[in-house]
Symmetry: C2
Subunit: 308 residues, 2 copies
């Protein structure tokens, strides 16, 4: 079977709704060979609601995610979950445990779960996540949840990819002050105070509220939901907040701006990935010489036909 | 004062040995405007010994680093330290505490310490760290220690930049198995079992040794040093292992290959940073259209004169 035929077969299976084809299409994109598949399928995308969840380790993101999946399934939605692992070489254990919280959905054919390492993608994490979200959307999943630990670049990614960004925080952890520092306030559409039975839960809510007052929001002002994800308490209210935000996006026309941003983000990721390969090839050659690395970089770019 | 004059002044101050000039030169590079400074100074670099330290959070990297600084100072070496912060928006507190372990060296004019966030550099972390190491080398520092938590890409960076890579591990933390998984074995030149008084220290040493036996090393076989960084115990032996590795690099000629790798790594980082700017400008325009993101990326690259 030629590569062209293999892709045609994959696309046909994908259109017929085979989850295996979705999984293989995402894998193709991760390895940098997804262009033809995306070209054949992108026009089926555009209907899904994408939700991002970020927050510090241990805050209960996976449990929240599992609760949202349950809620969405309860109203008949098909759900995709993209879990981004920070891929530290030193701390995989805890994350594996996290993944188990999604286990109740493993056998549900209406739920598609995909874990992604935060590195090792030719087009970078940005490209791989954007491709996966686009393909899940094209596959006909109604809700796509992207879950990531807030570390490195991943929370910026999530803001570029999701329509609604949930920032989960934990009482008594000193998170709130850090959040203000890191500019997380700019990306949150809904704050979740998880572990609501904690004695400091009220204080955390107050802190978030007073931080929100300092900010000058135009349009949507972030909501604060209170949950106890393990027991499922508050997940309904969180879902309602997400729906209110979705309604705001539609009524204000903001949804179009977010879609455009997401598209440009994805294009940027793909272009950057392609160029990285070219640079790699150019720099790999011995002709770039020694000495001043900036001058050598300029020569390598010139070799690609790029003048500064 | 024109920009040219400002750079000439900076370069003169740098050559005269003003630490302020070194700090400002690194800042210039971080902001993507360091080409002229590096061009004027790169030929002074090439003499320093660069040591990388990586390992999981809490293993005592900063204390180890401080111990190595003390040892190097004791034999009259001038030392530069580059501390790479993982810049999680959620967990800055602990890291700040870490930095304090270097405090005894803050007032020593023979020690130059630079903290770097792991993101927010135009040329990426790779570029910023490589520039800082090159400039410290050109400044005449004899030993440059790059310290980073093992997360994301930073431990790959360290392997590309340092002549000798130290991987620090902690007994009783289950690190050893993770290390094998993550391919850290390939980058370690010296393993450190820190907190040597821990009851599991011997077991960790045994585990590392048996992992080393599985690997097929050509040339240098990683050494295992045992330290108690807080009390300074074992730091002398660690330093001796670093010197043995340096001697091996010189005798085998391997040092030349490492220098070449580092140079190419830096060129790659600079070229990638430049191109990212170009892509940003090209994708920022509205002309790239909608629809298939891969096709749009190809159009954006074509706009830069790059055909695939």
């Amino acid at each position: 079977m030629s590569e062209r035929q293999a892709i045609d077969t994959l696309v046909n299976e994908f259109r017929a709704g085979a989850p295996r084809a979705l999984a293989r299409a995402i894998t193709l994109c991760e390895s940098g060979r997804g262009a033809a598949v995306v070209a054949a399928l992108y026009d089926r995308a555009g209907e899904a609601t994408t939700i991002g969840i970020t927050g510090p380790p241990g805050v209960g993101k996976s449990t929240l995610c599992s609760g949202l999946v349950r809620t969405a399934r309860g109203i008949g939605k098909r759900v995709g979950v993209i879990s981004i692992d920070p891929s530290s070489p030193f701390s995989n254990g805890a994350l594996l445990g996290d993944r188990i919280r999604l286990a109740e959905h493993f056998t549900d054919p209406g739920v598609f779960i995909r874990s992604m390492a935060s590195r090792g993608h030719l087009g970078g994490l940005a490209g791989a996540t954007a491709d996966a979200a686009l393909l899940m959307d094209a596959f006909g999943l109604d809700v796509i949840i992207i879950e990531t630990v807030g570390a490195g670049q991943s929370e910026v990614e999530i803001a570029s990819l999701a329509q609604t960004v949930i920032v989960a925080l934990q009482p008594g952890s000193g998170d709130s002050v850090q959040v203000l520092k890191a500019g997380i306030l700019e990306i949150a559409d809904v704050f979740v105070v998880n572990k609501a039975d904690h004695p400091m839960a009220n204080q955390l809510r107050r802190e978030i509220r007073s931080m929100l007052q300092i900010m000058e929001y135009r349009g949507w002002i972030p909501e604060i939901a209170t949950t106890q994800a393990l027991s499922g308490e508050g997940i309904g209210e969180l879902w309602a907040a997400i729906e209110r935000h979705a309604a705001y996006l539609n009524e204000s026309g903001e949804i179009e701006r977010r879609r455009r941003d997401r598209f440009l983000h994805q294009v940027r990721a793909i272009a950057a990935g392609r160029i990285r390969e070219l640079v790699e090839r150019s720099v790999g050659g011995e002709a770039i010489g020694n000495g001043d690395p900036y001058a050598a970089a300029a020569r390598a770019l010139k070799g690609l036909g790029i003048e500064e």
